[in-house]
């Protein structure tokens, strides 16, 4: 009796459950739309908060280097430069490390050690930014100044990137701190991607007599290339907006110098530094515009990355088709 009742009740419920489905669809649609609306609202708010500065400085805001709150002259170029360079440095340092770690964790490490190691790396992401910054000031900077930077200068001093006086606080220090902060996210995404590579791929490579390195290179890395690129972009997105720890080690000097030993400044840092004590309208507006620029750069970086990813995939598929 009871077993017979089940199908009929399901049948009876059909119209109701269809309504449920539709409601669920609408709800999820509204939520995903909400995220997009939020992004647009943020952009609109930033533009509204900075319209005076935009009309007053125009394009000069992006192209000049003077940041003078006394004379109310604002130019964002050194901040843009600092944000881009420190983030790229961070990627250069973090991406190879992360991918190597992910390879070890998915391909080489003994099984029992994989999970503890992976958890340990994810733990790095749990360290608050300001704590890393303090560690940066009191541990990393003195070590960089006393040991790492002089060695770099001795080895690579002939390039323009490692010249000039060594203060410790510098663009390079900022890049290193950001690298530490984005390592966990890139590593864990890269690890997931490599884990999703079908074992068939590996087995096929092994069957051809490939060594471990060849299996990793041919079967895993080339298969996971797009995903790994995506992981790096995720890291870049975070790197562009990193604020507190970077502010504490980058030296906060708005200048454009080729040497990575020279102090720099980032968009996020200048907002964090000056927002609370900005008393005049134009000053506040200029800081809002800095926010708008940072917002724009982040979106631009993501768009570029997606474009690159698309061309990469197209190339790959055409190659496969041939």
């Amino acid at each position: 009796m009871a077993t017979a009742a089940v199908p009929t009740s399901v049948l009876q419920l059909r119209p109701a459950s269809r309504f449920g489905d539709r409601a669920f669809e609408w709800l999820t649609f509204a939520m995903s739309l909400g995220v997009v609306v939020l992004v647009i609202l943020v952009g609109w708010q930033l533009a509204r908060g900075s319209h005076l500065a935009i009309t007053k400085f125009g394009f000069h805001f992006l192209a000049t280097s003077t940041w003078d709150p006394v004379a109310e002259q604002y130019g964002a170029l050194p901040f843009i430069y600092g944000t881009v360079v420190s983030s790229l440095l961070a990627l250069i340092i973090a991406v190879p490390l992360s991918i190597a770690t992910a390879i070890y964790l998915t391909e080489l490490a003994p099984l029992w050690i994989r999970q503890p190691l992976a958890s340990g790396i994810e733990m790095l992401a749990a360290i608050p930014s300001v704590i890393l910054g303090l560690w940066g000031i009191f541990v990393m900077i003195p070590w960089l100044r006393a040991h790492a930077f002089p060695a770099l200068k001795a080895a690579l001093g002939w390039t323009p990137f490692f010249t000039g006086p060594i203060y410790g606080v510098s663009m390079l220090a900022g890049g290193i701190i950001i690298a530490i902060m984005i390592l966990p996210i890139i590593t864990s995404v890269a690890r997931e991607i490599m884990r999703s590579v079908p074992n068939l791929q590996r087995e096929a490579a092994y069957a051809l007599g490939a060594t471990k390195w060849e299996v990793t290179r041919i079967a895993v890395l080339s298969y996971a290339k797009n995903g790994l690129f995506g992981a790096a972009i995720l890291g870049l997105g975070r790197a562009l907006g990193e604020t507190m720890a970077v502010t504490m080690v980058i030296g906060n000097t708005p200048q454009i110098k080729a040497s990575l030993f020279a102090p720099g400044y980032t968009l996020a840092s200048v907002i964090a530094n000056e927002f609370t004590e900005a008393t005049t309208d134009m000053y506040l507006q200029a800081l809002f515009e800095i926010g708008l620029v940072l917002f724009g750069i982040t979106i631009l970086a993501n768009l570029l990355a997606q474009l690159l990813l698309k061309t990469m995939t197209r190339k790959m598929t055409t190659r496969v088709a041939q």
Partner: protein, 334 residues
């Protein structure tokens, strides 16, 4: 049993809300936050019917909030500009509370006692004096062996009242500074590294041989950092202390709207790089009950609060100034 307990809790809640405390909200400067929170704690013992809620969001925020009337009082480390005062919906009063000094700290082999004057400090921060054994520094420090070392200049990177006082002083003693850089909570620094907060600057100075930086007196004192004596306008070298800051306020010219600067004042005992901090209140209070309580508190702060300043290394206002401020407090209408 359970019911009685519930009733008790409910009664407690109801009676609690019946004798509801009045909350007076304030926001602004971070520099005086420790003394203000001490005052509010102590004042709760004097008048338990009122509670103060103070958010140290920075002077810029304090001025914005009081103009927007989202708080009952604002607080700022620098006096408001005429332009900002005009944008307020009513007449805003500046109530000076305490003062602090900005000290020059440095990192030299053996950390000898160093003497500086305004012109030299301006030269260092303009980047024209580049080495510790520069003739200008040596002339002030006979008998001190100064190394042939680059001066690493460190300044605050975050906008702050400390920077305002420091640059205000330099603008007064150096025409070059005034025309090239000027006075503000952040400026376009001609040279040097930026450290975030007192701890950022002191961290940088402590670790970098040959560095010089400026921090708040309280911070330097509590961290036992070497500080320079600075030549005042009477030609005397004075070290930064609570007393020498109060002395500076006693001799400074203070106008009736209390928007004053006490950098580089007259008087042989005055330390020249110092500044006050202010509470910002409307002369005409909107809420009579709150206004009355606020005025009571302000009076108490002048009478009793000032005495607590020294314990926390803030300089209290001199007696004569306190009386002038009290007179102004009495003019607040509610």
């Amino acid at each position: 049993m359970k019911l009685t307990a519930l009733t008790l809790v409910l009664t407690a809640l109801v009676s609690g809300s019946a004798s509801a405390q009045m909350t007076i909200n304030g926001a602004g400067a971070t520099f005086p936050y420790p003394i203000y929170s001490k005052w509010f704690d102590e004042y709760a013992k004097v008048d338990s019917s009122v509670r103060f809620n103070y958010q140290s969001i920075g002077s810029g925020g304090g001025q914005k909030q009081i103009i927007a009337q989202t708080v009952d009082f604002g607080a700022s480390d620098g006096p408001m500009t005429d332009e900002n005062l005009k944008s307020a919906p009513g007449k805003l009063l500046h109530i000076p509370t305490v003062a602090g000094a900005v000290v020059m700290t440095y990192n030299l082999p053996g950390n000898p006692a160093v003497k500086l004057d305004g012109e030299t400090i301006a030269g260092i921060y303009l980047g024209t004096i580049k080495k510790w054994n520069d003739a200008k520094i040596a002339a002030l420090n006979s008998g001190v062996s100064l190394p042939d070392q680059e001066i690493v200049v460190v300044h605050r990177s975050d906008g702050s009242g400390t920077t305002f006082i420091f640059t205000d002083y330099l603008s007064k003693v150096s025409a070059d500074w005034k025309s090239k850089v000027g006075t503000n909570t952040s400026v376009n620094w001609p040279t040097g590294l930026g450290g975030k907060g007192n701890e950022g600057v002191s961290g940088q100075v402590k670790q970098t041989p040959g560095a010089i930086g400026y921090v708040e007196l309280i911070y330097a004192k509590q961290n036992k950092m070497p500080v320079a004596e600075v030549k005042n306008s009477d030609g005397v070298f004075v070290g930064p202390t609570v007393e020498s800051v109060t002395a500076a306020m006693a001799t400074a010219q203070i106008p009736d709207d209390f928007r004053f600067s006490i950098t580089n004042p007259a008087g042989k005992d005055s330390y020249p790089i110092a500044g006050a901090t202010w509470l910002l209140v409307y002369e005409q209070q909107n809420d009579a009950a709150k206004g009355a309580k606020l005025v009571e508190f302000l009076k108490w702060s002048m009478a009793k609060g000032e005495e607590m300043a020294k314990q926390l290394d803030y300089a209290p206002l001199p007696q004569e100034l306190r009386e002038r401020v009290l007179k102004r407090i009495n003019e607040i209408k509610f």
